[in-house]
Amino acid sequence: MTPWMRGAVLAAPMLTLAALPALAADEPKLDAGNTAWMLIATCLVLMMSIPGVALFYAGMVRKKTVLATMMQSFFVAALIAVTWMVAGYSIAFGNGGLFFGDFSKVMLSGIAWNEPFILGAGMTGTPDPTVATTIPETVFFMFQMAFAIITAALIFGAVADRMKFSAVCLFIVPWSLLVYSPIAHAVWHPAGIIWAWGALDFAGGTVVHINAGVAGLVACLVLGKRVGYGTDNMSPHNLGLAMIGASLLWVGWFGFNAGSSLAADGRAGMAMLVTMVAAAMGTITWVFAEWAMKGKPSALGAISGAVAGLVAITPASGWVFPGAALVIGGAAGIICFWASTALKKALGYDDSLDAFGVHGVGGIVGALLTGVFAYGMLYKTDDAEAALAYSGILYGNPDMLWVQAKSVLATMAYSAVATFILLKIVDAMVGLRVSEEEEREGLDVTQHGERLG
């Protein structure tokens, strides 16, 4: 038992105590300050998908697929919201087995709207495996929904410009139920198997980014390259839009990472700080690497580097200090630059917007470096002994790197296999890819009957 929210088990009461009278220690109460932060953190994470990812991706495709690309965020957000309410949330955060939750929360049956939420309530053990918060379950549900949405939206960057809209819909709903929710359960629920291994994923390095990146990679391999890939000009039609999108991702990411503290506490503050530093470093190293290698520092490089840094700090964000953030962000900028250019070119797949090159690879970099830089004391401020289980090799826990690597490999393997099977089923049902003529014409007109401008 190790993941991020366990921090909350101990830390939440402790920190919150600061602002609460004595009785709060006995029985957790709703806290307006923490609830306020989580309400707005939820807004920020939703904003990351719509319009964040929608713009980020739409600015990078060709003009003839702008609206279709936006729909792959916007409509998918709607689909996943309902999916999450109906069953996804229960599979992820219901109590249950090592791999998925039970169906006790299907359709939100019996959700308590006016009491502090306890994750894993009903579980027993020593020490108490549950995670107590001071926010209502509705807010926890919404915050996690926003994660389920963005994970789904990220995938489609890899197959931009060529996937049928019907296939998008038919694929993403079962994917969310059968791939996203189980992985979230395994990593973030006290009953989950990866939690049991002791892996650290503060805000979704494995659950969100590696998962989406690998699913994207598999999808672009299954669908094949874009028509004209390697010869036609496929440069971004409007990097201005992509830059707005990247900026909203950056700002929204504070909700993502600092919100994962589930409280407006000291840990949230530190998470925001390291998130900023890593994003900045990712931007700088990617741009400088490009400047050195290709002669010009590009806007596309800047936004790619920012996202790479943000991705990489995600699993680490509640566990590390600013110095580590410099290293994690800087490493991610360079490694993702290499992955999205040299590596992709060498291997020859067409991951259109580098869902894998940035999110997959950045997530791996971050997850592994968390195993190096995690500083357990960041939430266990008093017990150095116990904190070891949450520390990386730099702070005396040599096993952590391997635990992290194991969680990365498990996520990659499950995501790849399950995604592949689902894609094949959808392919058999309606076909995944538009015809060559439709692809030439563009998805906007052929899928949605609309055109930009």
């Binding site: 890939y229 390697g230 010869t231 036609d232 000009n233 496929m234 440069s235 971004p236 290709k294 596309l300 790619s304 999205s340 250019t341 040299a342 590596l343 992709k344 070119k345 067409d350 580098d354 090159g357």
Partner: protein
């Protein structure tokens, strides 16, 4: 009358117009075009995928002029649009049979 059609580098537009005005040219029509020619764009490696930018932004100017003016006009455009670097563009001259000013119905010479 002739129709002079020139493809030029975009930032030369104001100079060309200023070169034509003293000749008595009172109007012209400009279109944004993409030119393919000897001038090659950079080879772009956009995130690992290589391609050659072969179509470059140019402006196309169309001026209808009286036949006797055509040499002066061609020369003026050539002089003002030249940078000496590859991609400076072309000037084409076509024969123009009729011209008509919509507002007044004036035709040919007086329509220009």
């Amino acid at each position: 009358m002739k129709l002079v059609m020139a493809v030029i580098k975009p930032f030369k537009l104001d100079e060309v117009r200023d070169a034509l005005t003293p000749l008595g040219v009172q109007g012209l029509t400009v279109t944004e075009v993409k030119g393919f020619g000897r001038q090659k764009g950079q080879t772009e490696i956009y995130r690992g995928a290589e391609y050659q930018v072969s179509f470059l932004p140019k402006l196309k100017i169309e001026v209808a002029v009286a036949s006797e003016l055509v040499d002066a006009v061609v020369e003026a455009i050539a002089a003002s649009a030249r940078t000496g670097k590859i991609g400076d563009g072309k000037i084409f001259v076509l024969d123009l049979e009729r011209a008509l000013r919509i507002r007044t119905g004036e035709t040919d010479g007086s329509a220009l």
